[in-house]
Structures are given as C-alpha cells and as structure tokens.
Symmetry: C2
Subunit: 503 residues, 2 copies
C-alpha cells in the first residue's frame, strides 16, 4: 500500500508543477491586460512562450505515462478512494491529450492562429470578410487535424465538443438546443407583442465612474468574492483569471450605462467565486479545479442573471443601489426598473444580448459549426449564411459583416466547439436554481430581505466545492436528479418574462 501511495504522490506532484506553471502564466496574462506598459509586449511574449514550452514539457513527461501504467496495474489499485481514482483518471485524460499532439503541429497551429487573429482584427475593422476568409479556412483545417490527433475514430466536431465540455456531443447539444430555440423564438414574439414595453431610458443615465466603482466593491462584497483572495480591476474586456487564493476579476466602465459594469462584475464575480471556493483540501489536484467551461459559465450566468436580474434581489437591492448612487435614480420605481434591466430586444451583437435572445446567438453559432464540420456549408458562404439565419432566428437584418460573422474572436483562434458551452451554462444554471428553490423553499423571502449568502452557500456546497469530481452532466444529475435538460431554463424564462411583460 505504501508503494502505491508513493506513486500516487508522485503523480500529484507532477500535476501540481503543471498547475504552478499555469498560475504563473495566468498572472502574466492578467498583468498584460490590466497594466503592462505598452512596449513590454514582445518581452512578455517571450516569457509566455517560454512558459508554454515548459508547460508542454512537464505535461508530456514520459514519467507520467509510466506512473499511470504502474498504478493502474497495482494490486492495491482498488483500495484507492473515489477521489483518488478520479484524480488518476483526470491526469490520464490530460496526459493522453498532451502526448497525442506532435510538437511541430502545436507550433504550426499556434502560428497560424496568431496570424488568423490578426487577420480577423483587420477584417473586422474594415468590415471585409474576404480578408479573413483564407486565414479562417486554414484555422478550420488545423482544428480538424487537431481533432484527428486527439481521436481519429470519431468525427472532428464531436472530439472538439467533448474537449470543451467532457461528456457532450452534437446529438446531446441538439437535443437541448432544439426545444430551447423553439421556446425562445416564441417567447421573443410574445415579448414583442406585449402591449406595454419597458422604458430603458430609466437606466441609461450618467453615473460617475467613482460611484460605479463603489457599486463594484459593494457587489463583490455582497456575493462574498473575497478581496483577501482576489482583486477587481479594469480592462478592455472583462475577464477572470487565477486560482484558489489569488483570483482576479476585471470590469469596464461606461459612464452612460452602469449596467455594463454592474452585470460584468456579477458575471465575473460568479466565475471568481467558483475559483475561490474550490475545496481547500484539493488544492493543486485535478479534482480541485473547475469542472468544465459550461459549468464555469453556469456560475457566472447564475450570479449575473438568475440572481442579479431577479425580482427578489432587486426588491432588496434597489434601495441600497439608490443610496450608493445618490440622487441619480431616486425617482425610479421598482417595477419599472426591473422591467428595464430585463428588456428583451433582438440585437446584432452576442455580448450585448439579453438573457432571452442570447441563447439564439449561441444556437446560431452551434448550427453553423455543426454544418461546417459536416461539410454542408462552406466558409466562403458564411457571411450570407449568417445574415440569412439571423433574419430567420432573430428577425434581424445584419448589414455589416463586422456586426455579423466577424463579431467574435473565437473562430480565428481555432476554438470551434466552444460557443455551445455558453448556453449550456444557462441550462445548468436554471436546473441548479430549480433544485435550489426546492432545497430552500423560502429562498425568495431570504433574498428579498438581503440574505444573498444562503443562496450562494447552496451553490458553494453543492456545486463549487465539488470541483472536477464528476463530468458536468454527471454533476448535474447527482445534484438535481436529472441529466441536463433545457426544460428548467425554458420554464424559468417563460414564467419570468410572462410576469415582466404581462402576457
């Protein structure tokens, strides 16, 4: 037994080394986005390049493979706990992935992706898809090759979907997205036809940045994002990085739109709390990391939307909000305010979309990816296809490709199969919330009296502290009793917006 524990210990030690290198790299990345001097870029690239090489070297150390082989054949293997076995499984999973990619290929892919990102920037700035098309075609081919290296036995898109969200497939996504799409289109129609529409001018008022900053600080404290284990700063695009006791979130401020920062802080705060709340005893172990992208997104979406745009939360928070913002919103009524921050309005840009229409943006991207990989459509036709489908799904005329197919950075970096995890996050969040309301029947009374912690503690105990002990769909099943289903999200949205729009 001692011998096996020793092998197990060695595996965890190597895994920890990889985590430490990743943490260092994350800090460098954070610094780059938040405060690095302009001309430090090349120097920083050298540092990040070095760390990437180091990461590759440690991750593909043949010793990992040998230790895994020995431990799995060990006579005492069955005596390992569920957690220990999961750790071994996850180390094996990451190791397999790491060694399957030839280094030449990784270097080539990285170069092509870096150039494609540049081409995308130019194309978007000049609203000219043709400048991006050749690069996108190359990246697309590389993504397929990547998938083939990982697993040549199943179709590339399936490999990629499983990469970003272990346990998922296009079939499962389709099963979730088809009813969600249908229900969403109907819901949008109902909102549009409702006799009284929200008055958004109520919220677009000038709020000085120092007041918005105070709001940010108030919010992170409210959601128990620890400032002793993290920071909040400003960057062009909000993001979250770091792990455990040093987690950093960012926001951005627009003077005429406090919601931009407000809901960014709630969103990134959700990501941040998930990282901070990993189980203390699992630090640096595979089980002590976030479960999946979809699960991560379920947390950010839960904090931002399920909680942050809820009637119960604002029943409590509006007074506090009014106090913190001085006279600016003193005339605003609770009901009008709630309706204004929950306005449903089809729009062109995904990242600006509301809680309801957002999923259609994702489903559109998922369907395009699926059709691309199936060979049903071609990259050169994407601008047209994008416009047609936006018209069909959201009833919107996309005039410029920069507001259409060129709006997101993801594909230029080769991340096909990532988008679906965003909506999956919404699905998970709603399913968790449904269970939460059963476990805490008086959740709304609590929230209305300012007790946010009870709800977040439920999330911490049931989801966040579970780390990567199960694949996300399994965790959802264990916590809620059912595998991921869109029904809870559909019901949640239908009920919420029926009340808000009065239909």
């Amino acid at each position: 037994m001692i011998q096996m524990k020793e092998i197990y210990g060695q595996l965890l030690a190597i895994y920890k080394e990889i985590q430490v290198v990743e943490q260092i790299s994350m800090l460098l990345g954070w610094d780059q986005e938040v405060l690095m001097p302009k001309k430090g870029l090349i120097q920083r690239s050298e540092q990040q390049g070095y760390l990437a090489g180091l990461n590759h070297k440690v991750s593909t150390d043949p010793k990992i493979g040998e230790l895994l082989k020995v431990i799995k054949k060990h006579e005492d293997y069955d005596k390992l706990s569920e957690i220990e076995k999961r750790n071994i499984y996850l180390i094996q999973r990451e190791y397999n992935k790491a060694i399957k990619l030839p280094e030449d290929f990784v270097v080539e892919y990285t170069k092509i992706a870096v150039m494609a990102v540049e081409a995308w920037k130019e194309a978007r700035a000049e609203n000219d898809f043709s400048k991006f098309q050749p690069s996108l075609e190359k990246v697309f081919e590389m993504a397929k090759r990547y998938a083939n290296y990982i697993n040549p036995d199943i179709p590339p898109y399936e490999v990629l979907l499983d990469e970003f969200e272990p346990g998922m497939s296009s079939e499962k996504y389709t099963a979730i997205f088809t009813p969600l799409k249908e229900a969403t289109v109907e819901l949008i129609k109902k909102c549009k036809e409702a006799p009284t529409q929200p008055n958004t001018s109520l919220i677009y008022r000038k709020v000085p940045l120092d007041i918005q900053d105070k709001l940010s600080k108030d919010l992170v404290s409210l959601i128990n994002f620890s400032m002793e284990k993290g920071r909040i700063d400003v960057s062009t695009h909000p993001f979250t990085t770091g792990a455990y006791d040093d987690v950093r979130i960012t926001t951005r401020y627009q003077e005429e739109d406090f919601t931009s920062s407000f809901f960014s802080v709630m969103h990134e705060g959700g990501h941040g709390c998930y990282e901070q709340n990993q189980a203390e005893g699992w630090k640096y172990q595979p089980v002590g990391k976030y479960c999946s992208l979809g699960l991560h997104e379920s947390q950010s979406r839960f904090y931002e939307n399920t909680l942050g745009r809820s009637k119960s939360f604002w029943f409590y928070y509006l007074d506090r909000f009014k106090k913190l913002t001085g006279d600016i919103f003193s005339d605003v009524q609770y009901t009008d305010f709630i309706r204004a921050i929950n306005t449903v309005e089809p729009s062109m840009i995904r990242v600006e979309a509301d809680e309801v229409t957002y999923n259609l943006h994702i489903i559109l991207r998922f369907e395009i990816e699926r059709d691309l990989f199936a060979g049903k459509i071609e990259i050169k036709d994407l601008p047209r296809i994008w416009k047609d489908r936006m018209k069909d799904m959201l009833g919107i005329e996309v005039k410029k490709d920069s507001d259409g197919v060129l709006q997101d950075i993801h594909w230029s970096g080769g991340t096909f199969g990532y988008f679906p995890t965003y909506s999956l996050g919404n699905v998970y969040a709603a399913q968790f919330f449904n269970k939460l309301t059963k476990d805490i029947p008086d959740w709304n009374t609590k929230l209305e009296s300012g007790d946010v912690s009870s709800i977040l503690d439920w999330m911490k105990t049931n989801i966040q502290e579970k780390g990567n002990l199960y694949n996300a769909p399994e965790l959802v099943k264990i916590v809620t009793g059912e595998y991921p289903t869109p029904q809870y999200l559909i019901d949640f949205l239908k009920e919420k917006y029926a009340v808000l729009y009065g239909f």
Copy 2:
C-alpha cells in the same frame, strides 16, 4: 567559424532562458509588493520557489560547462570580438558560481535566512537584539561557508565584496573610505558650526497626495523614464524591478513630507532609466545587463542627489514645482529652498540620512563587517559597538537598538558585503559628474534653462548603454581616465556645502 558561432549562439540561448526566468520572477515579486491579495502569499511562495528551482536547474546545466570548454579551445576563439569574449567570460563567471554551491547548502541557507529575517522583524519591533542574535550568528556562519564554496583560497569577506562588486576588495574599499570618512566628519563639523542654519520647516508642509502623484509623473517625464516601457506605483518601500521594455519603479507618499516621495522617484527613476537604457542590440546577453550594484547605485544617486538636489536643477524646477503644487510653496525663496532640501544633520537612520552623513552610515557598517569577518569583534557585542561608533563618527547617542544595529534588513538575509556598494555608488557618481562637466562645459546653463536631457544623454551614452561590458572600476577608468577615487566626491561635497552653508 560557423561551428564556433553556433556554440556561441547556444550559450547565449541558455543565458537568455535564465534571463526570461528571472524576468518572470521579478514580475511576480513586483506584484507581491504592489498589489497581490493578502492571502495569495503561500501560493506566490510556491510559484517563486518553483522558479528559483528552475533557475538553479538552468543555471547549472552541465551543457553550459561543456560549451564553454569547447569554445575556449576552439581554433577560431581569437576571432571573437571583445563583446563576444566578454559575454563568454561573464557566462563562465556566473556558471562557476552556480555550480560551486551544493543544492543542499542553498536550500539550508535559504531556510536559515528566511527564519533570520523573521527573527529580525520581531527583534526590531520589540527592540530586543537578543531575539535576533542566535539567528544572526547562524546566518553569519552560513555566509562564511557560502564564501568558502565560491572561493576557498581567499578570505570570506573578500569573496563577498567581489561578489557584490566585481573587482573590489576590502583594501580598495578602505583606500576609498578612509579619506572619505575624514573629510565627511570635518564637513559635518563645519556645517554644524555655520552661523546660519537651513530652515527645514519650509519644506515640511502638507501636500495632498494627488499633487504628489502629479509631481511623480512630472519627474519621470523630466528624466526620460519611459512610461511606455515602465510604470510607477506605490509600495511600502520604494524599489525598482524589471528589465529593458518593462521596468517598474515604486514610491511612497507622506502627506507632510513631499521630499520622501520626490527623491524616491528621482532615485528609483535613476535605477529605472539605467535598466531601460541598456543597449537595444545586447538584449538578453550578459553585456546587456547592469554592470554592478555600485554602478546601479551610482545612477540612482546621480539622479537623486547630484542632479535632484543641485542648485542648477532647482533654478529651473522651482517655478514648475510651485505651479504644480498650487499655493503651497508660493512664498518660498529659491535660496532658502535649496538650503532646506540639502540640510546636513547627523541622524540615527541610514535611509533617512542626507547626502553628506549618509556615507558615514555605510562606512560604519563596512568597518563592522570587516572586523566581524576578521574575528576582531563578535556578534553578541554588536549593539554596544554600534552605539560606540555612532557616537564617534556621527556624534549621536543611539538609545534603542531598533534605531541602531537592528535598523536594516540586509544582514538578516545574509547579505554581508553589500552595504559598501551604496557609498561606492556615490563615489562613482561624483567621478562621472566631474567628467561630465568637462565634456559639457555649459552643463549648468543647460540645466538652469530646463535642459535635463543633455546631461542624462551623456550618462546614457557613456555609462548606461555600456551595460556589463567592463567591471565597474574598469568602466570608471575608461570613462573618466582614473580608477575610482573618493577625491571627486569629497571635492564635490566640500564645494557644494561651503556655498550652501556659507563657510
């Protein structure tokens, strides 16, 4: 020839790797001092520990030794340029040092030093030397062992002095410090006896921190510290870190004493410019790094004192200063102001000492170190010896050890032989300045009209861009025609203070 160039290239590549690791470590250190969340400390220690191990591994790679052996025996070795040979020499020097220290010893020394620093903190806080004495004794033994590993053939203190300032020895330091001490004691006496004393109340006025911050920004711009290649932030103790295109300096603000931050910015700005101004073509090469600690200090002292406390600089800057600070100093006269910021006043604390008395603080420490290593005095007697010598040299009664032998962190970390480089920096600075005034005869007219760049360009071209092409004493000889001598510093101080104090 190609073959040798290839070996040379391989050596530089490994050296670059070490530099990249050091840069990463410096950024992590900066972040820790400036903005890391409180509870991130353990995580950060893991990261820094990992990088230290990595640094050791890369620095002691036997391949370096093999490549050095091959290149030195190569038939084309003599065809290498002076710069290339210097690079090889410096790589050899650092490699020798790295491989001479057994890893066990390094680990043990680090642990003892970390604990000694903690003991020192406690002892200083409680003003109780006995709490520090056992740790200091251990650290002192380790420092001697360290020196023996590096070079067992010469006395330990000589090894350490040469480590911190290649080319220096206790004999050379004594030759410099003896006349400097004598002249300084006399100068202090004269200042004390001068009939009119400066009125320091002129400068100790409340200056709001936002104004002090504006002053900092103005200063860095004035001395050409590039904000595109650096940052200025706030930390408990001012420091400089980073290299080339990402150099970061810090300061600290005291509302009632603008000089604290003002001269910190000038001082750290000098260090910072030295790093930023390394020759572009030598990046990541041994010659493209700072020359020595003394040389680094010569730059910070030059910016802070030679320039920043000069009559000519303030002839120009006082008006600008008055404008930037609003009404606060509008009544202050130029002559009174200059005298106030150049007040000579023996005091207990080194880091608060003025330009004249400062060197006595250093010489006191040098003499104690020298006597300790020579076995003439013992650690247990340091409090008494400190008090006696402070009385002798500065005429000051040290009442508390926390204001005496316990005031500096250096010895607790094992850095014996470091202090002398501080005063050597002053010596270099004065010697450079003397040459500068010959090369730019109208330097004072220039400075008085606000042309700071001409002077700093001289420093950039003659000193900063030379990096580590020569050991510091050699560089001083090449630039000024003489090896380091205290005479220029003595003359400079005598002349300056005779005018200011009117004797």
